[in-house]
Subunit: 650 residues, 2 copies
């Protein structure tokens, strides 16, 4: 006997045999209902509502007795008011007649996840690590299978998972876990291949962290892997900074000291352990609850974190120890999360263009771009640049230095509460207003704020604004003749501009921008600019259609300010977008969708690496690009802004 | 152009194209020549001798100029006298005319290995861990493959190995190893799947240890994996003994103490580390040189060594945590050998019948036995018994106790120098002569020896001899009326027999056998006997055709003595063989021939486990079997011996 079954709101309908469950019917009719416990009547996620009465529109008579009676399991899980309102568990309810069923929003299976760490990105939710709930028959003298054999058999029968191995440390406690769960457990499985956690009974959640390890800053994102939701983000200075500001000085440190490699490794591992503990604690979890971490970084940080011999990374021909993506046990690295947790390392492209750029690429997907030429700049101590589209993609790395991350800047700081993140200067009065992280308003003179320093996005604004206000000229030199008390000479006789006076600041000191700060930014932006131009030359294009600015800044950098200082060649400002930490987003994408790991491997192999710093005219081009916005090139998109700058001539 | 090539002593001959090397020719003609370096002209193993002059018998003219001139590589590797005597490297020598070539014994590839730890056993040499020597092109700016990619490509091109992974700790040092070897390295590969060691240049050797972890004694065998040769064996008391003499008391210890599991684990791991260090040091190696260990043990020791929760092993239904064979990193167990070394654990059958019995089975191969019914007894603190042939195989486990290993025996000791291993008593004079390990002769009264105690094989002799001499009767009770100064009462008033007088012994004390010792042996032999009988009943046979006695004794136990005390049911003594430590041999076989691991998995799954101790008449049968040789059963094979015993009546 078959009956008519209709699922709302999708409207999918069809004939279903008597006695099948609503969950089975939903699979047959192509309706996705959540059932994380594998239809074992324990999770309560597959709640649906029977719509009763004659539905003229659908031509069927849907009645309560067209379903099997409410079962004991449903009474345990559903609230009395749910039952009164005709809610049922789809996995526990059999079809006995025509029915119209409504699937509430929370019961619909999320097969997509929206990352909203900056730019909103939509990915498929299909992680490499997954949970499976199973019930097993208890051991008897007649059924003397081992505990593992029993679990493997159940996972095969109930989910079709074959040839599963188990991590040794999980195996150790398996007998207790199985009996604590009364022969019902949730297994956490990596790549449908290895059991990396087993917990008693039904466990809905499992957790992962995506980490972007920059030369200067580390950004981490803790995700609920069952929903794809990012629960919390956190960051810190890279603790390796004490052994060297840039990658070459760290490689040198590793080479010159017997325990140098270990010290670099231990420092960042300790940092990751701190982040994992801090983040999980804030959301009521433990670090042991984390079963996977994805890691992205430049190739030098890759070697220094993983404790791979970095010596040959620092000298021609710059061969890395490994470029393929790989998986390693957290415990082998000293990372203190789940005992059998996996660390997935994204692939290296070439030289200093590492997994962080691959991560930017899988987040931004320029390899899916049809015609337009896209430029993607990931701003960090090592800047990475990608140029091209689906036909061809080039990439390079630039020694930007840490200035745009707030290091080597007198009042520079990490994007954290108290950091100036936006800044405007009145071209007439030379007065300054600014916005501080953790506060929504702009402050001006005489207004007490929590300002403690300035972070990346503020630094770019700051340089653009002093240039636009005529406080510095196009070569970056201060104009000391302006009528304002904000410009003065510091204790070394060098000019500086006071952004926040001591009495207004959160540190009881004037917060200033110095001539040295301006120079550091000029070196950084020139390196990026020349990198872009050399990729354009190699690709044979003289115009960029679209620019994406990425970086682990607190808030997005201002695209107009970026173009005014000449961070990249001219582009229509409508086609310029700042997207936040795309490398961090890519790390999360690889955590939540295993197909992104395949994309990463493929793009790492196909993108063409260009070694720009060895080009013959590099130094000459670099010198030209030091000026604001540039010594020679035209910037039609911002000509109207440049025209208003007092005393500006190209 | 093709030439006649003949290889001696095999006599294989055929036409080979001009310019091919002698090594290639040997492959084409089915001659096995050693080439561990993969024909890279570095190992010098493929030395062959050109036989010059007209060989009437073979009808060809073999001349020195029928081969390419001696190359620079050959001059480096071969001694001048070798070159003078027409020795060549087969891999470096091209064919230019008809040649007759002699392959010396040392150049012939050994594809078989003979184990001679007790019984001589012949296995194929085809280990799970293998060495591969490769040359790689150096890194250049044009060829920016990673070090690992380069190594993987070379292993694929030169040996057809695909999709190789690498252990993380090996990867860490890979850049240095590759450059130290000047782009030539030897990779050690597990299951042709994972690189677990990489050394600079050509490394011929790699090493493994087979270990049999008994409840009371541990036996270890260090092997040269390139030849299959057992370099050294060593043993020790199981250090877990301090936490309990038998498996149940150890499981109880683990359950009753918070850190009980860890303590048991740590004790045996420390023991294995001591053995690995001691054995490698004795042959001029280091423990790090060992890349694989195979482990066999009973199921309780399996759990206690691996630190798997053993609680449920000690209570019905005795389900183990895992029964499948598995591999785990030595470092995860705390075993200090190669950083990435593998530990292979043989499979569990059921309950207390563990990998040690599987190991005995792959050594003895009763599953290949055609018609005869074979009985295999592995004597240990837990005795394991197998009965059957290729049609059906049964096994069981008996709680023998440690008496037959020298524990719980007043002067019992491990099989080590100073242990009495053979013993004879004159039935007339009741005088005793004995042989001590480390010494070839038999000692008697008045002869000073190094005797310190008595080991397993000596204990069985000793009980058989006191019985045969009428010193004890068939119930095991001492006859105090005999006219000899060797029988007396000890400080507790219990009878004892003096085997070695204080002035003759190596410890300055009388070495005796006590009434308690006799009782301990009776309990042990009765357990084994009843186990055998119950398997016979289950299999439906009343006669055994062939008996194999195995155990980690110093020398082989005396088969006649074993039958006289009634260790097993009657069998023609010609068909009884003592084979030494078959479990240890199986562990080595699994180390040296990976197909033995498949056999182990298959036999573990097919052998039928019988729980004999739960049979209704177990206690009754056990009591009957306490007498010498038995209370009821006939022993026609030794009736002539029994007939001579003073006062013996069945």
């Amino acid at each position: 006997m078959e009956y008519n079954v209709i699922f709302q709101p999708s409207g999918r309908r069809g004939k279903v045999a008597e006695g099948k469950t609503l969950l089975t019917a939903s699979h047959e009719l192509g309706v996705d209902i959540e059932a994380p416990c594998g239809a074992h009547k324990v999770c309560g996620k597959c709640k649906v509502k029977l719509e009763t009465g004659y539905f003229e529109k659908f031509g069927i008579d849907s009645q309560a007795d067209h379903l099997s009676p409410v079962s004991e399991e449903e009474k345990k899980i559903l609230k009395p008011e749910d039952i009164a309102n005709n809610y049922r568990l789809a996995c526990a309810t059999e079809i006995k007649g025509d029915v119209l069923v409504f699937v509430p929003e929370e019961s619909r299976k999320a097969d997509q996840v929206v990352l909203d760490t900056g730019k909103e990105r939509v990915f498929t939710l299909d992680p490499a690590v997954k949970n499976y709930f199973v019930e097993m028959p208890a051991a008897t003298l007649e059924d003397h299978r081992s505990d593992l054999g029993r679990l493997q058999d159940a996972l095969k029968e109930q989910y079709g998972l074959e040839n599963l191995s188990i991590d040794y440390f999980v195996l150790r406690e398996l007998p207790n876990v199985i009996r604590d769960g009364d022969w019902k457990v949730t297994a956490t499985v990596l790549y449908d291949r290895e059991i990396i956690d087993v917990r008693p009974g039904f466990a809905e959640k499992w957790y992962g962290i995506g980490i972007d390890v920059g030369t200067t800053t580390v950004a981490a994102y803790l995700c609920d892997m069952s929903t794809g939701e990012m629960l919390i983000k956190d960051g810190m200075m890279n603790p390796q900074v004490r052994y060297g500001e840039d990658v070459l000085s760290r490689i040198t440190y590793a080479m010159m000291n017997d325990d140098g490699r270990d010290k670099l490794h231990d420092a960042i591992i300790e940092g990751i352990n701190t982040l994992a503990e801090r983040m999980t604690e804030k959301v009521g979890l433990k670090a042991e609850d984390v079963t996977e971490i994805t890691l992205v970084f430049n190739t030098a940080m890759h070697h220094c974190l993983l404790n791979l011999e970095p010596k040959y990374m620092g000298r021609s021909p710059f061969a890395p120890a490994i470029s393929a993506p790989f998986d390693v046990k957290a415990r082998d690295l000293g990372i203190k999360i789940g005992k059998a947790a996996n660390i997935h390392v994204l692939p290296v492209e070439a030289g200093f263009v590492g997994p962080d750029n691959v991560s930017v690429l899988i987040a931004e997907e320029p390899y899916k771009q049809d015609e337009e030429i896209r430029l993607i700049i990931d701003i960090g101590t090592n800047g990475e640049i990608d140029l091209g589209n689906k036909n061809k993609l080039l990439s390079t790395s630039c020694a930007t230095g840490p200035a745009l991350e707030g290091a080597q800047i007198k009042f520079g700081m990490r994007a954290a509460p108290g950091a100036i993140e936006k800044l405007r200067i009145d071209p007439e009065t030379k007065e300054c207003t600014y916005k501080v992280i953790g506060d929504d308003k702009f402050y001006g003179r005489g207004e007490k704020s929590n300002a403690k320093g300035i972070c990346g996005s503020g630094i770019i604004d700051m340089v653009a604004e002093v240039f636009k206000a005529g406080i510095i000229n196009k070569t970056g030199r201060f104009n000391m003749k302006l009528d304002t008390d904000r410009i003065r000479k510091d204790e070394n006789g060098k000019p500086e501009y006071i952004m926040v006076f001591a009495e207004d600041s959160g540190i009881g000191k004037d917060i200033t921008v110095t001539q040295g700060d301006i120079r550091a930014v000029q070196l950084a932006k020139s390196a990026l600019y020349v990198g872009c131009k050399m990729l354009m030359r190699r690709l044979g294009v003289n115009k960029i259609d679209r620019v994406t600015l990425a970086g682990a800044f607190g808030s997005f950098i201002d695209k107009e300010s970026s173009l005014v200082i000449g961070l990249f060649p001219d582009c229509d400002l409508d086609k310029v977008a700042a997207v936040g930490n795309a490398a961090g987003d890519g790390a999360q994408a690889a955590l939540l969708d295993k197909s992104k790991r395949i994309e990463a491997r493929d793009v790492a192999a196909s993108v063409e690496f260009v070694e720009t710093a060895v080009e013959a005219d590099f130094q000459e081009r670099f010198a030209e690009a030091m000026a604001f916005p540039h010594g020679l090139d035209e910037f039609p998109s911002i000509q109207h802004i440049l025209d208003k700058i007092p005393g500006y001539k190209k």
